[in-house]
């Protein structure tokens, strides 16, 4: 299927019974350009391997993302706007660095930094417990464990395979698909110029400030979270506990079983030393 034709048709044809209508043509056009830019930039970053392509890729990708972001509503007031974008940058830029970094340890560190950004964004939205839980569990336990395994399994710090990704075509497809997804999101979120503030996806009405401050953003946030957690969502939380337990048992038993195989030299698995 011809994707660009498909999208242009979506923008042009007014008779199609879609919520966007003809006025969205320019939005869709800008988005397409943005998607293409971002995809191209990422492709340069990932598939090509020279200094200039990487720098150019950073610029292109950043331009594409910013172009997409410009379609969104502005956060008011400007202080919030600034804070939000700082935190967003803290989340997104390390994430990008993580996927392009050639050294896995750096990838993990970038991921941890990105996690800090995400946790800050959660805090910024008033989800205090989740923000800190993300930090404790993700940054404190999961990523450290990743680092452990990385350091133990890859004592050299990086392997040859970290410097070459899959072929250029798959990388391009992946970049295009992923950017397209973001573009689709923005296209759905961005307000149509005609209808004031209405986005094509009909959002339910937001919760009122009073309602929020009574429950979700209450000063005793954690107490409220806990009371919901252990009443409405009790079954879910029990299931989560069972899941954790099963994972624990599974991991231990795997490692215990695997230990036996390591003792056997020439166990039939071809060890290819790629390092």
């Amino acid at each position: 299927m011809d994707w660009s034709g498909f999208l242009w048709a979506a923008a042009d044809s007014s008779e199609l019974a879609t919520p966007i209508g003809p006025a969205c043509a320019c939005v869709a056009g800008r988005l397409l350009v943005a998607v293409a830019l971002a995809a191209l930039g990422l492709w340069c970053l990932l598939a090509l391997d020279s200094k200039w392509t990487r720098r150019g890729g950073v610029g292109l990708a950043a331009g594409g993302v910013l172009l997409m972001a410009s379609q969104l509503q502005l956060v008011q007031p400007w202080g919030d706007w600034l804070g939000f974008w700082l935190l967003a940058a803290l989340a997104v830029l390390p994430a990008a660095a993580m996927i392009v970094s050639h050294r896995p340890v750096y990838s993990a560190i970038w991921f941890a930094v990105s996690l800090l950004g995400v946790a800050s964004l959660l805090l910024w939205q008033g989800a205090q417990f989740l923000g800190l839980a993300t930090m404790v569990v993700y940054a404190g336990a999961i990523v450290v464990t990743f680092l452990f395994v990385l350091m133990l399994a890859l004592p050299a710090g990086y392997g040859r395979y970290d410097r070459i990704s899959w072929g250029k075509l798959p990388v391009g497809v992946a970049c295009l698909v992923a950017s397209g997804l973001v573009g689709l999101c923005v296209w759905g979120l961005s307000p149509a110029p005609g209808a004031a503030g209405e986005s094509p996806w009909q959002l339910a009405k937001p919760a009122s400030t009073g309602m929020l401050s009574e429950d979700l953003l209450h000063p005793a946030h954690v107490a409220h979270l806990g009371s919901h957690l252990f009443t409405e969502y009790l079954l879910a939380i029990e299931l989560a506990g069972v899941l954790l337990l099963m994972a624990l048992v599974g991991a231990v038993s795997w490692m215990a079983q695997a230990q036996r195989y390591w003792q056997v030299p020439g166990d039939g698995v071809e060890r290819t030393d790629h390092v």
């Binding site: 956060v75 994430a95 990838s107 959660l122 890859l154 990086y158 990704s165 979120l189 624990l248």
Partner: protein
Amino acid sequence: MSDTAILQNHLFVGAVLFALGLIGFLVRRNVIVMFLCVELMLQGVALSLVSWSRYHGDWGGQMLVIFIITVAACEAALGLALVWIMAQRGGSLDIAIWQTLRERDQAPYTDREVPEEDRSVEDWPQLTPAGVEPVHPREEDMYRSHV
């Protein structure tokens, strides 16, 4: 108005994180990095969920994020156990060595050449101003044999 804006912007950031994770998962070959990318995708989703939760004033989204954290922890435990076993048995973290699990009559994958290193972008350890470069074999630049 502002609520909608906050929601939109957070959803956008979440989508970008998700997309970056997706790209990383598809493109990278190091198993652990792929894993990290999956976690990044989860982060994107978690961010979106919390945004919706705040927008609707409903706890459901936050509960789902708690679930995501749980699942991530389980995934880390089991996934890393698997990765560790794979690394021990295969001697490498390259996902490509496990193409031996392909169907019998499929052609094997042949790796392409490693591109020539461009020394100008090389960020290997630099000499410190105070030190004199010790004489060391070339391989030491490539990797550390032991730690």
